[in-house]
Amino acid sequence: MKIASKRLITSLALAVVIAVPSLAQEAHVGNMTGHAASGKKLYRRFCVGCHGPLGDGNGENAQWIDPKPRDFTAATFKCRSTPTGTLPTDEDLYNSVARGFTNSNMPHWDALTDQMRMDLVAYIKTFSPRWQAEKAGDPIKISPEPAVTLQSIAHGAELFQKMECWKCHGQQGRGDGPSAATLTDSKDNPIRPYNFAAGGDDSRFKCGVTNQDVYRIFMTGVDGTPMPSFADVIQPNDAWDLVHYLRTLQTSRHSKENDILKASGGKIPTKAPDTNSPAQPENKGSGGN
């Protein structure tokens, strides 16, 4: 009898130890701490309809939604400050909940308190064992932004060609490049490249609105989508030039970049190709079809 009850206690204790790590999961941003146990209640109220009780993105509304709700069990996240293939920081997730995702059904959760969002982040981290086994990646370093100049925009335009951004995004950044029609996300759902020209001053990127956000998007890549990371192939200063050029593709949005371009007559100067950069692609201009 004694042995049996001892065993029971041991196994109960073991069960607690196994069960607890998930709901003991925490999230930290600044001096805030999120708790998964509190986040679970919030999740069941606000998130479960789309993301599902198992966090796999198969909530009852999911079938009507495009793009599909995130599958937290895969722990692959679009908006990160960290390198491709690594876990995002708690702050990345927190910002995503707060910001929502433009062009999707994920709203910004302004109505929730900071603490509530923090608790939700902690709970989201219980859906994949990756959060137990590894740490978030080291955020990529972003050098201070240099001044916007016509030269910077022009160099960015060269990079847009050299990196072949137009293959998907199109020569005018309208999301209509030659490869655009065939793109699928990592779950084989069709997905469109970002159309820079859509929207006016309210136009937003999925992962933020600032120039730093734009920098981060193409350097980290948007994991789970066709958008790759360029961190290995674009130097920090070159990256800023590309950011400045991308802003000019947002033709209806007021920006320093567009002002400078307008002041110079709206034309981006093409300088003689320097010896370091390869020749312009022969099929330039075919991106718009």
Binding site: T76, T84, C168, T184, P226, P228
Partner: protein, 234 residues
Amino acid sequence: MRTNQRFAMLLTLVICPSLLFGAATVNGKVAYTGTPAKAKTIDMSKEPTCAKQHTTPVTTESVVTGPNNVLANVVVYISAGAPDESSAPSQAVTFTQKGCQYIPHVLAMRTGQELKVVNDDQTSHNIHPLAKVNHEWNKSQPPGTPPLSEKFDKEEFIPVKCNVHPWMHGYFAVLKTSHYAISGDDGSFTLPNLPPGKYTLTAWQEDYGTQTQDVTISGNETKTVDFSFKAKPY
């Protein structure tokens, strides 16, 4: 005492690598029954720099057959019974993008082994391994940039694709053992240097799935184990 025993074991391993690598061989052929789907012709006209590299039509490689109903590109490996190997080989394996194709189409490697990804084309590729057990990542590789160096820590067959060129599909076969082979154009494979033991052999084909067979080998004999997959007509 225990430390001594461990030391002795370690010493044996160092002096006598035959515990890890023996003299026996398993070889065989991978065949199919039924009618496999016809390979489809790939239209590369949207990527002229690649299209002009090919003089004959390029076809899909998800099922590559040879004369006498054999299958190429099948990964055959020891999935159970293989001696534990502590570290991956120091030499890297290379995955090359050339003519908007992956060479090889199926690349096998050890867990933790260095993988080099090379772009030999005059166009940008993005290398996008759709890993589920390992981590999914996605990197751009414009022409003229140095090889990427990566590794995978867990055993998995990982589909790889290039989103820019949707016809580009390949596989990384990440294995816990270095006792693996990929069937050639004649369907044959050879697993040399096996120590005596009882093994489970697994053959994996990307469209047809896996098959396993047990084999027991002793001494330095050569045993033949053949595999046969049922082809899917579509």
